[in-house]
């Protein structure tokens, strides 16, 4: 299939046309020019990588740096430069990256995550009680998809959930392309001040939570963590903890409702639940272009000559819809039984919270469809407000009834 749109006429990011599928440009690029230089909406250009194996190469090779302080690092959001000046460890290379990541990995092991299961199930049950007792139709994002991960990450970090309206509204402002650099700066400043205040409270009265342990073990006695660094790390965890999962719960529910045969298969065999979650992660790949990189040296990839300093974006949704890695990628198939998708990234930066996310999604979907077996959309899928201008793809509102 020859490319029908020349790269020169494209500006990145592209817009998704169907609620679930990646932008159609990805297929055309993968078939015609799998590593293609395109103009960025905020100026400059970057190489887009659309083949599965090439995406894994970019995300695991030291030739491609995640260091956000390098000049020319690709930007998606107008205010992003303010974060990239002093980025959290997701925008650092080894060995610094490992130094910070290792402060928190023991908080996210399978064993630790399992101890959280009863509390997550209880939170989900409570939210569904309230939802069932309330009016119909209801916005599933507001009533369920957002509070589930927000409650979980607040509990884990030690952030008071009562403050959720404050930090959710500022996170939204910080993660949308609609915000100007000034609006981004305001939101980020407020979030920083909030976290800084919370750190002071943890210093005075530490609790049994991740933030308190970072304060006690890394900030105070040895000073290996600067206060600004701790603020950014906590903000990153708070954001990553709920801004991703909310979209997976809402869009995932929608994908299941729009594929009734697949939902029926899941209902008749609960053993399919883990595989269904993996397939939803692949199919939706909501963090598509979070994985920006910059070439650290001259290198060759997929026939393209990449120069040191060039921006590179390893497109996760393009990799997860590569027919070479996933035959018939457009088919949503709960029986696919594959876990080699890159929805959580790949390489040393692969999502630290992925197993917590898997558990949240399993509990959310199984409980939702068990408690409300007649759940259905209360609006046409074509008319819903999708998150086209944000860093993470999703849906702003999902009206449902039963």
């Amino acid at each position: 299939m020859p490319p029908t749109t020349s790269p020169e006429s494209m500006t990145f990011p592209f817009q998704r046309q169907c609620p679930f599928a990646p932008p159609p440009e990805y297929d055309r690029l993968r078939a015609g020019e799998p590593v293609a230089k395109v103009p960025m909406a905020l100026g400059g250009s970057a190489w887009l990588v659309t083949r599965y194996e090439d995406v894994r190469t970019v995300l695991s090779s030291p030739a491609f740096s995640a260091d956000g302080t390098r000049p020319g690092f690709p930007r998606i959001l107008p205010g992003q430069a303010q974060i990239l000046e002093r980025p959290p460890f997701i925008r650092m290379d080894p060995p610094q990256h490992g130094f910070y990541r290792r402060m928190i990995i023991q908080e996210f092991t399978h064993k630790r995550i399992k101890t959280m299961r009863p509390a997550i199930q209880a939170a989900v049950d409570r939210l569904l009680d309230d939802l069932l007792a309330g009016p119909r139709p209801v916005d599933l994002v507001e009533a369920f998809a957002l509070p589930v991960p927000s409650l979980v990450i607040c509990e884990l970090l030690g952030v008071p959930y009562d403050d959720h309206e404050f930090f959710q509204s500022r996170s939204r402002a910080a993660l949308t392309r609609a915000s100007t650099a000034e609006q981004f700066a305001t939101a980020l400043g407020e979030l920083r001040a909030y976290m800084d205040g919370l750190i002071t409270r943890k210093q005075q009265d530490p609790g049994d939570d991740l933030m308190s342990r970072l304060v006690t073990d890394h900030l105070e006695p040895v000073g290996e963590l600067g206060r600004d660094e701790l603020v950014m790390m906590c903000l990153m965890l708070l954001n990553a903890g709920h801004e991703t999962t909310v979209n997976m719960i809402s869009l995932g529910t929608m994908a299941l409702l729009e594929h009734p045969d697949q939902l029926a298969a899941l209902r008749s065999d609960p053993e399919l639940l883990p595989g269904t979650v993996e397939e939803l992660l692949r199919y939706l790949s909501i963090a598509d272009f979070v994985t920006a990189r910059i070439a650290a040296e001259d290198t060759e990839l997929g026939g393209a000559a990449i120069r040191a300093g060039d921006g590179v974006i390893a497109l996760l949704a393009a990799a997860d819809w590569d027919p070479g890695a996933f035959p018939e990628p457009e088919r949503f198939d709960v029986h696919r039984g594959k876990r080699h998708h890159v929805a959580f990234g790949y390489g040393v930066h692969q999502c630290i919270g992925q197993n917590l996310a898997r558990m949240e999604l399993e509990i959310a979907f199984s409980s939702l469809f068990e408690r409300i077996p007649t759940l259905r959309l209360a609006a046409s899928a074509d008319e819903l407000p999708y998150k086209h201008g944000t860093l993470l793809y999703g849906v702003h509102e999902l009206p449902v009834t039963w």
């Binding site: 995300l59 695991s60 490992g98 990541r101 290792r102 990995i105 023991q106 908080e107 996210f108 092991t109 399978h110 064993k111 876990r339 080699h340 959580f344 990234g345 790949y346 390489g347 040393v348 692969q350 999502c351 630290i352 992925q354 197993n355 898997r358």
Partner: protein, 65 residues
């Protein structure tokens, strides 16, 4: 089969534990990979090979078939 693990590059993504919990675990102290069965039974070889391919930081390897 002989499995080796390099904790100096492990990032604790946990893909190995998810794929073959009989063979891999994560340390309670630092969260890094531990190998429970360095020479697993034959019926687990396929899953171990998959875990090696899924590991995002190439921390585990099969040193001998």
């Amino acid at each position: 089969m002989r499995i080796t693990a390099d904790t100096s590059v492990c990032i604790s993504a946990g893909m190995c534990v998810l794929t073959v919990p009989e063979v891999f675990d994560q340390s309670d102290d630092d969260g890094l990979v531990t190998v429970l069965l360095p020479d697993p039974p034959k019926d687990l070889h396929g899953a171990v090979a998959q875990a090696v391919r899924l590991c995002p930081s190439r921390a585990i390897a099969i040193s001998r078939e």
